[in-house]
Symmetry: C2
Subunit: 316 residues, 2 copies
Amino acid sequence: MVKIGIDIMGGDYAPTEVIKGAQEFLKDNSNVHLFLIGRENEINSELQKNSLPKDSFTVINASQVIEMHEHPTKALKEKTDSSIAVGFGLLAAGKTDAFISAGNTGAMMVGSLFSIKTIEGVMRPTIGAYLPRENGSLGLLLDVGLNADCKADNLNQFAILGSLYAEHILKVPNPKVGLINIGEEEGKGNLLYQGAFPLLKNNPHLNFIGNIEGRDILLDKADVCICDGFTGNVILKLAESVFDIVQRRKIKDEHFDRFNFEEYGGVPVLGVAKPVIVGHGISHFLAFKNMLNIARKMIETDFTGKMQQAFSHIKS
Amino acid sequence: MVKIGIDIMGGDYAPTEVIKGAQEFLKDNSNVHLFLIGRENEINSELQKNSLPKDSFTVINASQVIEMHEHPTKALKEKTDSSIAVGFGLLAAGKTDAFISAGNTGAMMVGSLFSIKTIEGVMRPTIGAYLPRENGSLGLLLDVGLNADCKADNLNQFAILGSLYAEHILKVPNPKVGLINIGEEEGKGNLLYQGAFPLLKNNPHLNFIGNIEGRDILLDKADVCICDGFTGNVILKLAESVFDIVQRRKIKDEHFDRFNFEEYGGVPVLGVAKPVIVGHGISHFLAFKNMLNIARKMIETDFTGKMQQAFSHIKS
C-alpha cells in the first residue's frame, strides 16, 4: 500500500482544491492511502462537500499553517505543529512514503534539505520544471532556483538526476541531455559552463547531446535542459510570462495553453532520499492530482533507489 | 554633414537589402552622406536596380568579405581588404562618424574593441537588444552575450550605458533600470547579483527600481533590464524562439509580430568611443534603415560625448 502525505493547507486555493485533487486522484488509484495533513475541522468540512472513499485516507491534525510570506527556516522551527512540519515528520519517520505541498516553497526546500537526508554522493539537491513542447511531450529544465550559485560538478549531478527523472517518471527512453549555453561549440559560455561541458561529455551515464541555446529550450532538441539555478529561474519565469501575455491577448492556441505551468503541479526535489513534491502556489485540483500521480510513480518505481544506485556507481 | 559607413556585403540578404535599406533611409534623410563599403562591381550593379540620390553616397571598394563562419580575430587580421576591416579603418581615421554591419558578429566585436578605443573609465563595452513591450514601446536588455563572465562593477557600468542609450536614443525620460534577478528583495540571487544590487542602488546616475524577475522582462516594469551576457543571451534567444513558435502556429497578433527581432536591426556596441552598430544576420531592408537611423541619432546627439561625460563624472 502506497502512503502519500499531502498538505491540505498549502496553496492559494487550499483546502478546497487540494481535496478535489485528492478525490480525482483516488477515482483512478486504489491501493493508495492518503494522509491529509492540516486543520482537522477544515479538512472535515471540505470532506462533507467532496467526499473521499472510506478507508482511503487518514486525517492528521496540524493546528498551524506556515503562510506564504513567512521566513522558511524561522517558520519551520517555530511552527512545529504546522502542516509542513508535521508532513516532513511523518515522512522522516517512515509513516508516509512521499510528501506533497503547494505551500511556502522556501519551507518545503528547507524541510527537504534538513528533515530528509540527501542521497549519498549528491552535493546539492535540485528542483526542476516541465517545459511544454510542440510535439505534446514535456521536457525538463533544471535547476530552476534552488541553487543560484553552482559549480561545474553541480551541473553534472543535476544532469544525472534530471536524466533519471526523465527516464523513469516521464518515461522518455534514453533522454537527451543538453547543456544550456550561448553557443553550440565546446568552449563556449562563461567559466562555469566551459567547465561543465567536459564533465557532461565524459559522463557515461548521460546521453549528452552537447550545448543547446536559448532558442532550443522550448523545442524538443533536448529532453533535459541543464543550467544553474539563476539562469533556470529566469528562464522559467520568462516562459510563464509568455502564457500570461498569450492569455491577456486572448490568443487561443493548444500549444500555448500548455504554458499554463500551474497545471503541472510540481516537480520533485531531486537528490533527497524520499519523494518530496513542491507545488506552485496557484495550483488547482488538476495540479494536485498530477502531483499525487508523480508521487505514486516515484514510490512504485523506487525512484529513490534508482538515484542511490546511480550515485553509488559514480563514487566507485 | 553626417557621414555613415555601411558594410554592403554583411548579412544573409546582402547586398540587395542593404542598398534597399539605404534607399529608404535617404528618402527621409538629407544632410547624410553614406559610404557604401564592399565589392565595387556588386555595389554598382545593385545601384542600377535601386538607385540612390546623386551626391548622397560614395562607393568604397573592399575586395574581400569575412564570411559568417570565419574566426573573427583571424579573419580580421588576414582579410585586411574585407568590408569590415575597411569599414573600421574609415571609422578609426575619422573619415566616417559611424559604422554599420550585419556581417560576422564576432569580427564586428573584435573590430569595435581593437580598432576603436573604449571610453575612458569603461571596463567592458556591452551590447544589448530591444525588448518589445505590450504598450508599443521598446525596452532594452543588456548585456546579451559580449560578456559571458561579469563582475558586479560590469553590471553597474552596463546600467549606466543602457540608461544613457534609453534616454538619448530611445527618448525615454528618466529610464527605469531593473536588475534581473530571481527574487525582488535585496540580497536575492547569486553572488554576482547580490554584489551588483548595492552598486546600482547607490549609483546617483541611475533611476534604479530594484530587482526584476524573469516574468517582468517582457513587461514595461523596467526600461533597461540589466544582466550578465550569459543570462542575457539565453533570454534573447528564448524570446526570439517565441516569435518562431508564434509564426509556425500561424498566430496573428500585433504584439507578437513585434517579437520579430530582425526588424530592429541592431543595437550599438555601448562603451566604445565611436558609434558601431552590429546587425542581425537575417536583417532585411527595414533593419538596415533602422540601423542607419540609430547611427544618425547617435551622431547628432553626440552620444559618444554623453558617455564620456558620464564616465568622467563617475571617476571624479
